[in-house]
């Protein structure tokens, strides 16, 4: 069942055509990878979906709804969360505070109650913390729970960002180069976690990736982009053996 689709999407920055007439669909519960050389427009696609940019043409649909013109801060409410290519953590906080912010879209008591720290606010905070603990357990972040994010190693920071996105209880998760900067062991853990996210949490995943082994292992279908256009779409095996893809990206 198609949960998410991009139709005839185009994006221009002045003279640069970042995305050119791109269309693809993602089924519910699948892991969909987007690969391609640098500058192919992969992150731009994620940025358009999460409304960082307005597309010049085309539309984005999620769960039957046109979300092309959605306000940027309403995207997560619609059920879509993301991670960033350059980690965008809240450097001033601890891991727990970052994850609690992931829960922002859920109610935590109204504004005036917060000044007074009413029992309702207290209960909402406790509920959020309980929800966040589930994510911490899933991603093995317990030892770092109260550590300031700024001092953590790169691999852990990436996981925290993933955890934060999951804390928002999305139905669609966008991952921007999740394995960049991770060593093989961490990448293997990541593959297992994506598997858990797909099977245990029932979350659909779209990920931009360069690590082909991760793509082969975790992805159900792959889209290869080049110069903003669709080059190939199919299973990992199909795409990796596609001659055009090999010429443009993978190398002979």
């Amino acid at each position: 069942m198609t949960m998410f689709s991009v139709r005839n999407l185009s994006l221009r920055f002045g003279g640069v055509q970042a995305i050119a007439d791109l269309s693809f669909e993602v089924a519910q519960g699948e892991v969909f990878a987007i690969i391609g050389p640098n500058g192919a427009g992969k992150t731009s696609v994620l940025n358009v979906i999460t409304r960082v940019f307005d597309p010049s043409a085309g539309s984005v649909h999620f769960e039957g709804r046109d979300i092309t013109q959605l306000a940027r801060h309403r995207v997560v409410n619609a059920g879509i969360a993301r991670t960033f290519q350059n980690i965008e953590l809240f450097e001033g906080g601890t891991v727990l505070e970052n994850l609690l912010l992931g829960r922002h879209r859920f109610s935590h008591g109204n504004f005036f109650a917060q000044w007074l720290w009413t029992p309702g606010v207290r209960a909402a905070e406790a509920a959020s913390q309980a929800a966040v603990e589930q994510v911490i357990e899933l991603l093995d972040l317990a030892p770092h729970r109260k550590s300031p994010v700024a001092g953590l190693p790169y691999g852990v920071r990436k996981v925290v960002e993933l955890a934060r996105a999951l804390a928002a209880r999305p139905r669609l998760l966008l991952l921007d180069e999740p394995s960049s900067g991770l060593n093989p062991e961490e990448t293997r853990d990541l593959a297992f976690w994506i598997d858990d996210i797909q099977n245990d949490l029932g979350v659909t995943v779209i990920m931009v990736e360069h690590d082909m082994s991760l793509v082969s292992e975790a992805a159900d279908r792959v889209l290869c982009m080049n110069l903003g256009q669709r080059l190939a779409l199919g299973t990992p095996a199909e795409v990796q053996s596609n001659p055009a893809v090999i010429a443009a990206y993978l190398g002979a």
Partner: protein
């Protein structure tokens, strides 16, 4: 009609000072992304030093000017090499706070050393005026305008046409990359600070005869900020244009707007431009890639 021309000329004369001060601000900003709050107080301190050399030690004017500019340049170089360098890599706000702190220290020192009275000193152009086709201009104003133009041209040529200048621009965009490319970033930054210090000294020495050698001289920096914003942050020709325009706007506001607006108009311009037109007239746009 002559009033309009007279007003414009007066405006440009005052504007030239704003432009020169603004130039110093833009220069430091371009090189280090720090808004240099010391600029105004260095300007003020230089005027006091000039006074000391001309009136107390009775040095000839040109010698005093050269000496003051040299002192300011050395001071700025050392300031960067020893103090500003310590906060490299910290967010912009830290730099602003540091310069505010140093500015206060300087102001306090000058106030303690010289006392609160205003002073003055003679220049070769004091009390001399020229007539240009029905309009009267003070000679000193002409000198200011000429200096502003000369300094601008020199800087423009330096930053665009010499390797050193391009290196300075590179260092301002990405220090690490510049360093790895063989650019001696620390030395260049100190050089830029020295240049700014020299410009501040010039401004102070040229402004003081009109505005008096007084602690409050530092305040011209705030007006220069409005000029920088008007012209577009990070643009040297913008600073000049902004300064001249601001001077003219002030003159016209003084005549055509109700009482009291003349002093406020610079700040209204600053706020207005930043809110409606952040790029200013000649500024560059910038955003953040995620």
């Amino acid at each position: 009609m002559t009033t309009v021309i007279q007003l414009t000329i007066n405006g440009m004369a005052i504007g030239a000072i704003y432009a020169l001060v603004a130039l110093g601000l833009v220069l430091t900003y371009k090189a280090t992304e720090v808004l240099n709050f010391i600029h105004g107080d260095l300007l003020m301190a230089s005027s006091f030093i000039g006074w000391g050399l001309i009136v107390v030690l009775k040095w000839p004017f040109w010698l005093a000017v050269l000496a003051t500019v040299a002192i300011a340049m050395v001071f700025s170089w050392v300031l960067d090499a020893r103090v500003m360098r310590l906060i490299v890599g910290q967010p912009q706000f830290a730099g602003v706070m540091l310069t505010i702190g140093i500015a206060f220290t300087l102001r306090g020192l000058v106030s303690m050393s010289f006392g609160p009275e205003s002073r003055n000193y003679p220049t070769p152009w004091t009390n001399q005026k020229t007539q240009l086709g029905g309009v009267v201009i003070a000679d000193l104003s002409l000198v200011i305008v000429a200096t502003a133009l000369l300094v601008t041209l020199a800087l423009f040529w330096f930053l665009r046409r010499t390797t050193l200048g391009v290196a300075i621009q590179a260092a301002s965009q990405n220090q690490l990359a510049a360093f790895l490319s063989g650019i001696r970033v620390k030395r260049l930054t100190s050089l830029v600070w020295a240049l700014t210090g020299g410009i501040a000294a010039l401004c102070g020495l040229l402004l003081a005869p009109t505005a008096l050698v007084d602690i409050s001289l530092w305040f011209v920096m705030i007006k220069a900020l409005a000029a920088v914003v008007l012209g577009g942050f990070g643009s040297i020709p913008g600073a000049i244009l902004g300064g001249l325009l601001l001077g003219v706007i002030e003159q016209f506001a003084g005549v055509y707007l109700p009482d009291g607006y003349k002093d406020a108009v610079a700040y209204l311009v600053l706020i207005g431009v930043l809110v409606l037109w952040p790029r200013g007239l000649l500024g560059d746009a910038h955003g953040r890639r995620v």
